[in-house]
């Protein structure tokens, strides 16, 4: 009998090269389309518009002509939590286990039919990656015909967020199972935003697999809760110990500095370490 070993010891994650990102928004559109994210009648109300993948615009704060812009795509961070044992900020607070940490993939799931909309997970998440369905989902007339059959639309009153296109993982796994393979190939499971990015700024794969591009790009240190060994790489709010699986890469100091809240004098130490890493 075939053994299903898929997913064991995997840790799917994403690396986003901020120096390549042009802020075109393709990732946002692809994500919305892939995951049946509904439209709103008034999209100007940004704070209750649903965008699983959101692109922030950062600036170095300097006047022209020294002004620099960086676009930062921000999906769910799929936090591993303190000690990488699945103690994600959102998972441990949900009273009904509507969100959970999958130890075989490292993906933080969201069970819409279990969620009753207390929004505690939203309160616990510092990245604002979770969205509450304030409205009934609506699509322009005829658009409902183009909904993805693999992703359930969410009803009003529940929280939703990026799932790293988990349905694609399921499809890849099923395909491998049929073909009597135990592992899925790197390119078999890719998120919609990764595929859509025209600049190739987003890379997706198994952070635990040394053969995968994401691993080679950041070289996560297994002894330091996945902290990157690549000195150009960083994660958002690293010191909060949320242990995200989304890594960012940038050559620019001010961009890396924007990744966390550094107190006076702290950034210089980080930068020194970074410079030593380059030597």
């Amino acid at each position: 009998m075939k053994q299903d070993n898929h997913g064991k010891n995997h840790k799917y994650g994403m690396v986003i090269d901020l120096d390549k990102c042009t802020g075109c928004g393709s990732c946002m559109v692809a994500c919305m389309s892939e995951n049946n994210v509904p439209f709103k009648e008034d999209e100007t109300r940004k704070k209750d518009s649903i965008t699983w993948m959101r692109v922030y615009k950062l600036t170095n704060g300097k006047p022209f002509p020294e002004t620099e812009i960086c676009y930062m795509p921000r999906p769910c961070m799929h936090c591993g939590g303190k000690g990488d044992h699945g103690h994600s900020p959102c998972v441990s607070v949900c009273p009904a286990v509507a969100t959970d940490y999958d130890h075989s993939t490292g993906i933080v799931s969201q069970i819409y039919t279990r969620c009753f909309g207390c929004r505690y997970c939203m309160g616990a998440c510092p990245y604002h990656v979770r969205y509450f369905n304030w409205w009934d989902p609506k699509w322009p007339e005829g658009m409902e015909n183009y909904l993805s059959p693999d992703v359930s639309p969410r009803m009003r009153g529940v929280v939703e967020k990026c799932s790293f296109c988990f349905h694609r993982y399921q499809q890849a796994k099923d395909r491998a199972y049929v073909e009597e393979r135990e592992e899925i190939e790197e390119q078999e499971y890719q998120t919609a935003c990764t595929q859509a990015c025209p600049a190739g700024a987003i890379t997706f794969g198994d952070l635990n697999n040394p053969d995968h591009a994401v691993h080679q790009m950041v070289k996560p240190d297994p002894h330091a809760c996945g902290k990157p060994r690549n000195p150009k790489a960083f994660r958002l709010l690293e010191r909060l110990e949320t242990n995200p699986k989304v890594y960012y890469i940038s050559e620019r100091d001010w961009v890396r500095k924007a990744g966390d809240n550094y107190l006076e004098g702290e950034w210089e130490k980080v930068k020194n370490n970074h410079d030593k890493g380059h030597e």
Binding site: F116, G157, L240
Partner: protein, 411 residues
Amino acid sequence: MDSALIPEGAKRCPFPVFAAGIAIVGVVVLWGVYAMGLCWLKGLNQTNMNDYYGFALWIWADLAVIAIGGGAFFTGLLRYVFGIDELKNIINLTVVIGFICYSSALLILAIDIGQPLRGWFIFWHANVHSMLTEVAFCLSLYFSVLTIEFIPLILENRQVDKVPFFHNLGHNMHGVMAIFAATGAFLSCFHQGSLGGVAGVMYARPFAYREGLLVWPWTFFLFTWSAAAYGPCFTLTVLKMFEGITKKKLVKDNVVHLLAKISGWMIFTYIIAKIIDTIYWATVTAPSQGFKLMDFYSDNAFYGIWILILEIVICGIVPAIILTKKSFRENSRLLLIAVVLGTLGVCLNRWVMVLQIMAVPVMSFDTWALYFPSWQEIATTVLPVAYGIILIALAYRYLPVFPQEKELNAD
């Protein structure tokens, strides 16, 4: 018209006046019920909450009423478990207030969740690691205990008491009330603490996060302590309001002063713990997460350092001094100032722990999230207050809430 229902020997205003008062407050209730209906039928889009600000004004009200309702469990503990007999003259009032506060809290929670029909999931799919699960269990169970504590008072209504079965039931329930009071104190301790834990365990929110003992952050203990300390302040505030409105003395001074003294010492010890907690958080916990104290109180239009000073100094240290010093607390004006400040202080603490934590930006490129509640949120927050006024007015009119009233107003 309803004189047969009024406690024997007690004087009450004419029924039409009472009915008119109830009708006026009833209009406010109906306004709140309409807003509640909108939230249930149309959804939480009726509020001004958003994905940055997911906890509404009413969640603050929820925590605030639970805190000020803490007088019920603490006075019950003192009366039934520690045997402080004088408090029997004010225990009925605390039970009524507690019942109102906890039923209001449950009502607010029922409005707050996005899928009210799935509210039972919190019990069925309970996540034992979530502080909110503990809150839900303890809140529901403690409300049951408060109901059991309230029933004997209802059975003491002049007409109900004439029925032998109800008379005996009420008498027997009084006999075992110590068990329920002790159970209630235990449950309430836990859920007050869990409400503090709800904020304190959010380790990715530096404004809320606290280190602590085992699985409990310091806010767990501070919330329980503050509810026990400030709850009696609210009881005394309500008593003073009653005495002002009815122009009668309803509870003897020795009882009031005793409860005020206990509350004062509780506030005194609590505020020391709160100051230590604040200093540790501001100098150790927050800096370890990349924040200075003033990061939480600057760069926005509302949350200044004044809020911390108001909570700790004006609404903490000042009432503690007034209530612990005999000559101060026996001055009726100073006593009133102290209990009102105490009530405001605990409500302010809950405001900070519910609403300010949502407003503080965490990512370095993020901004403060300020919001103003919609009328539906305001109406549903006022709803429990109006409901409470009606219930307490009915209780005062028809039930022996104040056992010393007859003696104190014999003429």
